[in-house]
């Protein structure tokens, strides 16, 4: 199934977002807006924070409004008591639920504007086909990506240039919102099939190959903690990895410490990760973190029943509960 775009070109989406933001600020429903804006390069649409209705024209909705704005809510909440408005995609909205469930966010202090999302573009994939320096803009019209390359206009099928994480996205529509910015889209075909494809590929290796595979991945890790910092599930006030006493994680660049970090990080989001994939996308070293997170999701689903985090903030995550007849992944004799 193809997502609906119902005709209006990308610019109209941006207009719609600006309009909602402007109204909310002018009516004093919120004192600030968190959304996305365009930065210097074609592939950059980072999160922006606006308080002045006059600034709302900076807001944008384009193929690169990927960044999760959710985690900024924590800083906002800590520093001020007023209400904030936030634009969220499907994945981001589950981050809202994540924070709500973790009691890190008060629902009444945030106005959620849900933005149904057909997927975001992967700059790497575009660069592989077009000279990056000559690209002036990238927009999405219908199911086509329209690129201004030099003086030419190139039209390509969007699907081939979307982020992998968007291709396996099961919830493109926001699951929590106060206002839906435009009508919902349909989930992508093959999203379910591709969900655990990479996990299964790694599982099919023998033990030593798996170890070698992951060593190759983790070898690149520079422990910048970007994966943790962007993750709405990693919302502790003081992360254990930042604590000096007890020193849970060594500071030296030791492969064992890197492994320790990745095991414990994944364990801490086990049953809580809602598959936004930002950890992996943001990683400067290209560590395939979603393969780890999804492995745990798969394992939990198989053993303890299907569970999707971030859909209902009132349920209990799988590691916070049990059933007497649970199976075990070890010898119970």
């Amino acid at each position: 199934m193809q997502q609906k775009v119902e005709g209006y070109p990308l610019k109209e989406y941006t207009t719609k977002i600006c309009q909602i933001a402007k109204e909310a600020l002018e009516n004093r429903e919120v004192t600030a807006i968190i959304g996305w804006r365009k930065k210097d390069f074609w592939w950059q649409s980072p999160v922006v924070f606006l308080e002045d209705p006059a600034d709302v024209q900076q807001l944008v909705w384009d193929p690169f409004t990927i960044y999760s704005p959710v985690k900024f809510l924590l800083d906002w909440q800590e520093s001020c008591a007023a209400k904030v408005g936030i634009f969220v995609k499907g994945c981001d909205s589950r981050g809202i639920n994540r924070l709500l469930q973790d009691k890190r966010l008060e629902r009444e202090r945030v106005a959620v504007y849900g933005v149904p999302c057909g997927g975001k573009a992967d700059a790497e994939k575009i660069r592989a086909s077009f000279p990056s320096k000559e690209i002036k803009s990238v927009t999405l019209i219908g199911e086509e990506l329209v690129l201004a390359v030099g003086e030419r206009e190139e039209r390509v099928k969007a699907e081939a240039y979307l982020l992998d994480k968007c291709l396996s996205c099961r919830h493109p529509n926001p699951v929590v919102y106060d206002k839906l910015v435009w009508e919902e889209v349909s989930p992508r075909q093959y999203a379910d099939e591709s969900r655990f494809a990479r996990v299964q590929a790694v599982e099919s290796l023998v033990t030593e190959e798996r170890f070698a595979y992951w060593q190759r991945q983790f070898d690149r890790c520079i422990r910048c903690f970007a994966c943790r910092n962007t993750c709405p599930a990693c919302n502790c006030r003081v992360c254990i990895f930042d604590q000096a006493e007890p020193r849970w994680l060594g500071k030296a660049n030791d492969p064992a410490d890197t492994l320790n970090y990745h095991i414990i990080r994944a364990f801490h989001v086990a049953g809580r990760c809602f598959e936004c994939g930002e950890c992996e996308r943001i990683c400067p070293a290209g560590v395939p973190l979603q393969e780890l997170n999804r492995k745990l999701i798969k394992g939990i689903n198989d053993a303890y029943g299907d569970y999707e985090a971030g859909l209902d903030p009132t349920d209990v995550p799988p590691l916070g509960t049990y059933r007497g007849e649970d199976p075990a992944g070890f010898d119970e004799s």
Binding site: F211, G250, I263, L292, K295, G329, D331
Partner: protein, 143 residues
């Protein structure tokens, strides 16, 4: 399969819950059941006290194997502790195996306070398996 790694004496850290497995270890002692001296027991009140970080740390510091032992499901002194242990450590174990760690390296078993013989048997079998695997190099600190 013959036992290789002749001469290698593994170090095994066993986290034992106070009420069942630690008591089982004591019973093994009272009954004079001999088992591998490579095992070092850390007493914890309940298997649910065992933080995965403790396990990883033991490997980092040079343990060749880690065992977590608790009461049988339903027998937990604290009602439900081992039920949480079961979920948590199943997840941890699956992840470690996925990352290429041999399944025998990290084991979880239920041993009751009356199972002295089982305690000795488990210690011996774990020691034997670890011995066969050889030293832990994958999770150990380089320094």
């Amino acid at each position: 399969m013959p036992v290789t790694n002749e001469g290698f004496e593994p170090l095994i850290v066993a986290f034992c819950c106070n009420w069942c497995s630690y008591a089982g270890a004591d019973l093994a002692g009272v009954s004079r059941m001999s088992y591998s001296s490579n095992v070092r027991i850390i007493r914890v009140p309940c298997s649910s006290r065992v933080n995965p970080s403790f396990i990883i740390r033991a490997f980092q510091r040079g343990a060749d194997g880690v065992l977590v032992a608790g009461c049988h499901p339903g027998d937990c002194h604290y009602h439900s502790g081992n039920f949480f242990t079961r979920r948590r450590l199943t997840v941890l174990k699956q992840m470690m195996e996925y990352l290429g760690i041999e399944p025998e390296r990290f084991q979880v078993r239920w041993i009751s306070g009356s199972e002295g013989a089982k305690f000795a048997m488990v210690m011996n079998s774990v020691a034997e398996e670890i011995k066969r695997l050889g030293p832990n190099r994958k999770l150990r600190d380089v320094r």
